[in-house]
Assembly symmetry: C2
Homo-oligomer: 200 residues x 2
């Protein structure tokens, strides 16, 4: 049944997150899903393919959400980015699975392309959002949109990591959007001050 597939992916998300890729056993995933190990190999072929299917699904879901938010404009896009950030950071499985996806991609050449491509797509989307914001506000940031997008994404993942670490007395929920705004403001100020393009 398709029921089995869904149950397996849900169970795999929990177990892979909690134990890590190598620490998770197919037996535990099967038990958590209420099926047998045979079903896993019948549907996914191998442990690695199960993880790949799980990871790919999550990456596509995230990209879709980010794109939807950014289609509504830069302000709405940033708000959606912050919403995704908070949801991810507040979900232990989501945070651990994100980190595990990166780690597995680093160590498994066959999986690296998927994560790398996903990252490039998100970055391009963010860069386009920066370009729209620039045009709307009529400002010059003095640096390529790609670099601003890279910083935005880095801040995103870095904050997820820090939120999860749970050091007391830090990081209010709107920190991300405030810092991105400040970054844009500062870049614009430095560009206006430091040297306009086309200056002799």
């Amino acid at each position: 049944m398709a029921r089995t597939r869904a149950a397996l992916l849900a169970a795999a998300a929990d177990v892979f997150a909690e134990r890590g890729y190598d620490g998770a056993s197919v037996d535990e995933i099967a038990r958590a899903a209420g099926v047998s190990v045979g079903s896993i190999y019948s549907r996914f072929g191998s442990k690695q393919d199960l993880f790949r299917a799980l990871m790919t699904g999550h990456l596509e879901g995230d990209l879709h959400r980010v794109r939807s938010g950014m289609d509504a404009g830069p302000e709405q896009g940033l708000a959606e980015l912050e919403a995704v950030l908070l949801e991810t950071a507040r979900s232990r499985p989501a945070t651990l699975l994100d980190a595990e996806s990166w780690a597995v991609a680093m160590r498994t050449p066959a999986m690296r392309a998927a994560v790398s491509d996903h990252h490039r797509r998100v970055r391009d989307e963010a860069a386009a959002m920066v370009a729209r914001g620039r045009a709307a506000g009529g400002v010059d940031l003095g640096v390529p949109d790609d670099e601003v997008a890279t910083a935005m994404i880095a801040l995103f993942h870095g904050l997820v990591r820090e939120y999860r670490l749970g050091v007391p007395g830090e990081a209010p929920p709107d920190l991300y959007s405030r810092m991105v705004h400040a970054l844009a403001t500062g870049l614009a100020a430095l560009a206006a001050d430091g040297g306009p393009p086309g200056e002799p």
Copy 2:
């Protein structure tokens, strides 16, 4: 010998980084170090304690470097932070080991305190650096130093993650210091514009 301990820690760094904590076997670490598995258990007691010793050493080394740089002043501190960032990002074992330390800490209560405390120390150090920079420049950033420090550290780890992903055409080496400067500039501009403290 103390020789054995050093060789084991060096080998453990490589193997744990390349295979992950669960993927690494004590047998492979022993082979890489040129000793036997018995020596590992004689010196470290368990696989977990070996990892703990390795991780603790790296965390202390990083903290010491960051502190040294920041003692020389905010500008020098930021430069040192960027130097550590580039060194970490350019070293595959260093990047993977950092990520693995976080992941293991998340999953092992006994290890979480070490990573969490380390993070708090680095954040406090960065916050003190921000305070000194504020005082030197006579500016108000409008937000607590802790929040600026949190953003700086998040940007640090996020950039390490992105650099290692190796998406083409991104992230020049001085991106970090430029973005931190822009962030500070933007915060100061927004604070001056939005509302001075003590205003009626």
